[in-house]
Symmetry: C2
Subunit: 375 residues, 2 copies
C-alpha cells in the first residue's frame, strides 16, 4: 500500500480499490461509488435533512459526516465523498448564498460588472472554509480506514457562471453573454477562482482527503472555442495546484464529453469522469493513448428500471470499461426519487463483477417494471 | 432550376441558394438563415406580439406570415421559415396547451399512464392543423419567389417528452423515467407521433413549403442506448414519410452532436443540423463519407460580441464548413436579447463571403465590446 492509502495520521486503509484504480492499476473488480450518494434518495439522509437545512448540514461537521457515512454503511460503496456543496467557495469569497427549499441555490447579488469583483474578498481557506475541513478531519476518524475519503470543489468556470447568473439556469445565457461582452472581467474572476479552488483542494487533502474531484458541472454550456478559453485553462490550473498535494485528482465535466482528450491533456488529471452521453467503449478508445483512469457512467435515470434491468445495464457498462484504471459510478448525480433497491442493485452488481472472460453470457433484460403508477 | 424550386403553383424562385446547398451542391456562397429568425430580437416582431398572444399569432395566418417575412425583408436571409411552434401537434392531438407569458408552454394534463394515451385523438392534418397550412399557402404567395419557404415540426421524442413532462424542464427526468418504467407506453406514443409528424410535414409541402426541418430539440436528454431506441427510429420514420414529398428534409438534434453519423444514416435526411457544441471541421470530417449537407452552427451567444467579433467568428465558421452542401445558420435559436446589428453582421458576413482561396487573411478579433452596462 502506498503512502496516500496509509496516511500516518489515520488507520490503515482496509479497502484501497478506489485508490488503486485511480492510479490506473488493474483491480480484481472496479471500485464503485455514486455521485450525490449522500442524498435525498436515502430515507436516512432525509431524516437528518428534516432536522437541519442544507447549509447548516454543510457547516456542522457532525451532520455532514453522518450523511457522508450513510452510503458507506448502508450500501457498501468503496469510497466516501464529503458532504458539502460547490457553492461554499463563492460564499467564502463573500457572496451571500441562499438555499431555499424547492428553488435551488441563489446568489441574490450576482456578479454583472467589473466593479462587482471588488466585492469578493481574499479567502483564508483554513478559516473561511474551516468547517468543511473539520468535517473532513472528523470523517477520516469516523471512517477508520474502511474506505478512502474524497474531497471536492467546483471548477472555476462552473463557479463563475453560477456567480454571474445568480441562480440555476438552463442555458447560462447571462454568463455566456458576459464572457463575450466583458472577457477581461471573466478572466479576472476565473483566475481568482482557479487559485482559491486549487488551494481549497490542497487544504482538504491536508485535512485528510485521500483523493479529490473537480466538478466542472456547467462545462457543457460552452462551445469549444470558449471552453478552451474560459473553462479549460482555469480547470487545469486548479488541477495542477491540487495535484501538488500528492493524491489522485478526478476531473468531471458533464456535458463536455466531446472534450475528454483535451481535459486530460490540459489538466493532467489522474481520473477523468465520463458522463452518460458518452459510450464507454468510445471513451476507452479515445483515451487509449492517455495515462488516465476513467470514472462513470450509467445514466442515473436507468435506476428507475427493474433491479434486473439495472443489473443488466450495469454489467454492460462494466464489460465495456473493463477492470483496468476504472471506477464504476453513475454518469451524473443520483436522482432524489431513485429507489434505494436500484442503487443497491447497481452497487452490488459492481461488487459481484469479475472480468468478462469468467463471466456467463448476459441475456438482455427489457425496459419496464411492474408499477401501479404506470398501469 | 429544379421542379422543387419552381413549383407550378408559384412564382419562379429568384434565390435558390438554400435549395441547391440542401441538395449538396457547391454554391457561390452559402445560403444563410437563423433558427428563430422570426422572433423577439426584432422590434418589428415585438410590435406584432404586443397585439396578439403567441398562439393567436400561430393560428392567424396573416400574423404568422407577417412575422415570417420580417427577417426576409429586414435582414435579407436566404430562406423563410413559417412562424409556428412544435407543440401545435400535441395540441392537435387533443392536449390542452397553455402559453403563459414568462412561464413557457405547458400541458396542464401531461401523459403519465398508459391510459392517458386514450385521450389522444386521431389527427386530420388538413383540418386540425389547417391554420398552419393556410399560413404556408399565404406565405408562399406573399414571398412571391423571393426565397424558399421552410416548413417544420418537432420530432417524436421531443414532442413525447414534452407531453410527458407537461412543461419545460432542465433534464427531462419524468420522461426519462417513464421510458424506463413503461417502455410500451412510450413506444405507442412515439409511434403515433412519428406518423402524425411525417404526415404534417407532407401536408406543409403540399401547401407550398419548399423544404422542411425536423427539430429533435431534446435528443440530448437521452443516453446513446435510449436515443437509439426511443428517438432515432421515430425520427427516421417521420423523416422517411416527409421525404416522400420530394423536398429536402433537414434534421436538427441539438445536444446530440455525438450522434450526427447515426442520425444521417438512420434518417436519410438531406441536411443535418450541427449544434454549437460541435466543431465545424469535426462535423465535416465525420460526415465526409455521407451524402448529406450540413447546417449550422454559430453559438447564438457570440452575437453579444462586437460586430467585428461576430464577423470574425462567422468567417472562421464559414472557412471550416466550406461552400459545398452547406447552409450557414446559428447552432441554436437566436436569443431574444440579441442586438439586431449583430444578427445583421452575421448574415452580411455570409452574404459577402467567398471561398477561402480568394479571401484575405483574417486577423483575430478579441472578445469584448464597449458596453455601458459592463463598464
Amino acid at each position: 500500500m502506498s503512502g496516500t492509502s496509509t496516511p500516518s495520521s489515520g488507520s490503515p486503509l482496509k479497502n484501497d480499490l478506489f485508490l488503486r484504480a485511480a492510479r490506473g492499476e488493474s483491480t480484481e473488480r472496479p471500485p464503485v461509488w455514486m455521485m450525490r450518494q449522500a442524498g435525498r434518495y436515502l430515507p436516512q439522509y432525509r431524516a437528518v435533512r428534516a432536522k437541519a437545512d442544507f447549509l447548516t448540514m454543510c457547516r456542522t461537521p457532525e451532520l455532514a459526516v453522518e450523511v457522508t457515512l450513510q452510503p458507506v454503511e448502508l450500501l457498501k460503496v468503496d469510497a466516501a465523498i464529503i458532504f458539502s456543496d460547490i457553492l461554499v467557495v463563492p460564499q467564502a469569497m463573500g457572496m451571500e448564498l441562499h438555499m431555499d427549499e424547492g428553488i435551488g441555490p441563489q446568489f441574490p447579488d450576482p456578479l454583472r460588472r467589473a466593479a462587482d469583483l471588488t466585492r469578493l474578498r481574499e479567502v483564508a481557506v483554513e478559516e473561511d472554509l474551516g468547517y468543511m475541513l473539520d468535517a473532513v478531519r472528523l470523517c477520516r476518524r469516523e471512517l477508520d480506514g474502511r474506505v478512502p475519503l474524497i474531497g471536492f470543489a467546483g471548477a472555476p468556470w462552473t463557479l463563475a457562471s453560477y456567480m454571474i447568473e445568480g441562480k440555476g439556469t438552463k442555458n447560462f445565457h447571462v454568463a455566456k453573454r458576459l464572457i463575450v461582452e466583458a472577457p477581461e472581467m471573466a478572466h479576472a474572476l476565473l483566475s481568482k477562482l482557479a487559485t482559491v479552488v486549487g488551494n481549497f483542494l490542497v487544504a482538504q487533502v491536508r485535512a485528510g482527503a485521500q483523493a479529490v474531484q473537480l466538478f466542472d458541472s456547467w462545462a457543457g454550456a460552452l462551445a469549444p472555442a470558449e471552453f478552451r478559453q474560459f473553462a479549460l485553462p482555469y480547470l487545469a490550473r486548479s488541477c495542477a495546484i491540487a495535484r501538488t498535494a500528492g493524491v489522485p485528482v478526478t476531473v468531471f465535466a458533464p456535458g463536455a464529453g466531446w472534450a475528454l482528450e483535451q481535459i486530460v491533456e490540459a489538466s493532467g488529471c489522474d481520473v477523468v469522469g465520463v458522463d452518460w452521453q458518452v459510450e464507454p467503449a468510445d471513451a476507452r478508445r479515445r483515451l487509449a493513448a492517455h495515462r488516465v483512469a476513467l470514472q462513470g457512467n450509467l445514466d442515473p435515470s436507468l435506476l428507475f428500471g427493474t433491479p434486473d434491468f439495472v443489473r443488466h445495464r450495469t454489467r454492460k457498462m462494466l464489460d465495456a470499461f473493463g477492470s483496468r484504471g476504472y471506477i464504476a459510478n453513475l454518469g451524473h448525480g443520483i436522482l432524489p426519487e431513485t429507489p434505494v433497491a436500484s442503487a443497491r442493485a447497481f452497487i452490488d452488481t459492481v461488487r459481484e463483477w469479475s472480468a468478462p472472460a469468467s463471466q456467463p453470457t448476459v441475456s438482455p433484460v427489457p425496459y419496464g417494471r411492474s408499477s401501479a403508477m404506470l398501469a
